[in-house]
């Protein structure tokens, strides 16, 4: 019988009980809470924000945001509260300064280089207009539909 009891105990206990959070604020302030919550990382989860995480601790952190909002703190002051505890790790959106600047600049740089390369490698002297259909005397199977090309040519005659 000891065994028989064990199984029900295993199922009934040993779990973190989910705890209910505070009720939301009025619509306008709650929207701000949710927006800020999206930008703060849950301390006990795996890379989700405190607004997204179903974990109880995330709800406690979101309640803290509510509390700070009610106290009339600015967004930056609220972020600073969490950064003071967890460092920049707490920010879902890395700062556009310091070590994380590269994240923002790198892709833009690459984009610029890419567009530059495309610009360099395509011909600049705009060739006189010519229908695409004549341009490729392909003998291999057509990648372009010949009827479509014809439509284009027709269009041009108009």
């Amino acid at each position: 019988m000891i065994q028989a009891l064990l199984i029900s105990i295993v199922l009934a206990q040993g779990y973190a009980p989910p705890r209910q959070g505070q009720d939301p604020l009025d619509a306008e302030r709650e929207a701000r809470v949710q927006r800020i919550g999206k930008l703060l990382r849950c301390a006990v989860c795996q890379g989700v924000s405190i607004a997204d995480s179903p974990a109880s601790m995330a709800r406690a952190q979101l309640d803290k945001v509510r509390e700070l909002v009610v106290e009339g703190k600015s967004d930056d002051e609220i972020f600073d509260y969490f950064v003071a505890r967890y460092g920049e790790w707490a920010l879902m959106e890395p700062r556009k300064s310091g070590v994380t600047l590269g994240l923002w600049v790198g892709p833009l740089l690459l984009l610029a280089i890419g567009i530059f390369l495309v610009w360099m490698n395509t011909s600049k002297n705009a060739a006189p207009a010519q229908p695409a259909v004549v341009a490729s005397p392909e003998t291999e199977k057509p990648a372009e539909d010949e009827y479509l090309a014809k439509v284009r040519a027709d269009l041009e005659k108009q």
């Binding site: 009980p17 705890r19 795996q46 406690a60 309640d63 003071a84 967890y86 790790w89 006189p128 010519q130």
Partner: protein, 200 residues
């Protein structure tokens, strides 16, 4: 008008179109390219290799060297409230735990023993993310030599930057957080080593 392409063979071998082929004595191997590529690859592999052995789930702790956040909550064992301020002048060991947390129960005897050894130090347990009923039942069963507090909305945990349980905070006589230990203590010696810093 695109110049008519040269007659094409089925295989494109090394022959290029005269108008765009590279200068005849172009290097056959792009040395600069290789060097740059190897540098990038080296950097990439180096960064990933450095990450071995670090725990990706560990959460930074920035309150080290900062004053411990104040709190006042009601006691579990008797009526009345406890606030951190009342321990001013004594070192404080603050342990976050829960009844559903195996490692917390495992280190409990070590903390119990330490609370008897270090009479000058205030030991405070704070129950994290648990029900009051569970906590009371557990404490009634096991008994405890020091105070345990219930943190119903996890406000203390948020203030202290808790990232899971068990976590033990060591606070010195001036009320400054000297360190936080996140793993459970395996032996009284391990605990002794950690507490030494707040005893002076």
């Amino acid at each position: 008008m695109t110049p008519a392409p040269p007659p094409r063979r089925k295989t494109l071998s090394t022959r290029g179109n005269a108008s765009v082929s590279p200068p005849p004595n172009a290097p056959r191997v792009n040395v600069v390219g290789i060097v740059v590529a190897l540098l990038v690859i080296g950097g990439l592999v180096f960064i990933m290799a450095r990450a071995f052995g670090t725990d990706p789930h560990s959460v930074p702790f920035m309150l080290k060297g900062k004053p411990a956040p104040a709190f006042t909550v009601k006691r579990l064992d008797q009526p009345g409230e406890v606030s951190l301020a009342q321990f001013k002048g004594r070192p404080v060991v603050l342990n976050f735990w829960a009844t559903w947390c195996g490692p917390c129960k495992y280190e409990q005897p070590i903390l119990d023993l330490a609370s008897q050894t270090y009479k000058d130090v205030a030991f405070v347990g704070i129950v994290f993310e648990d029900t009051e009923a569970n906590t009371r039942r557990y404490l009634a069963e096991t008994g405890t030599p020091y105070i345990h507090l219930y943190d119903p909305k996890s406000t203390i945990a948020v203030d202290f930057g808790v990232s899971g349980v068990p976590e033990t905070y060591f606070i010195n006589r001036e009320g400054i957080i000297v360190k936080k230990v996140i793993a459970p203590f395996n032996s009284p010696e391990e605990f002794d080593k950690e507490i030494a810093e707040i005893l002076q």
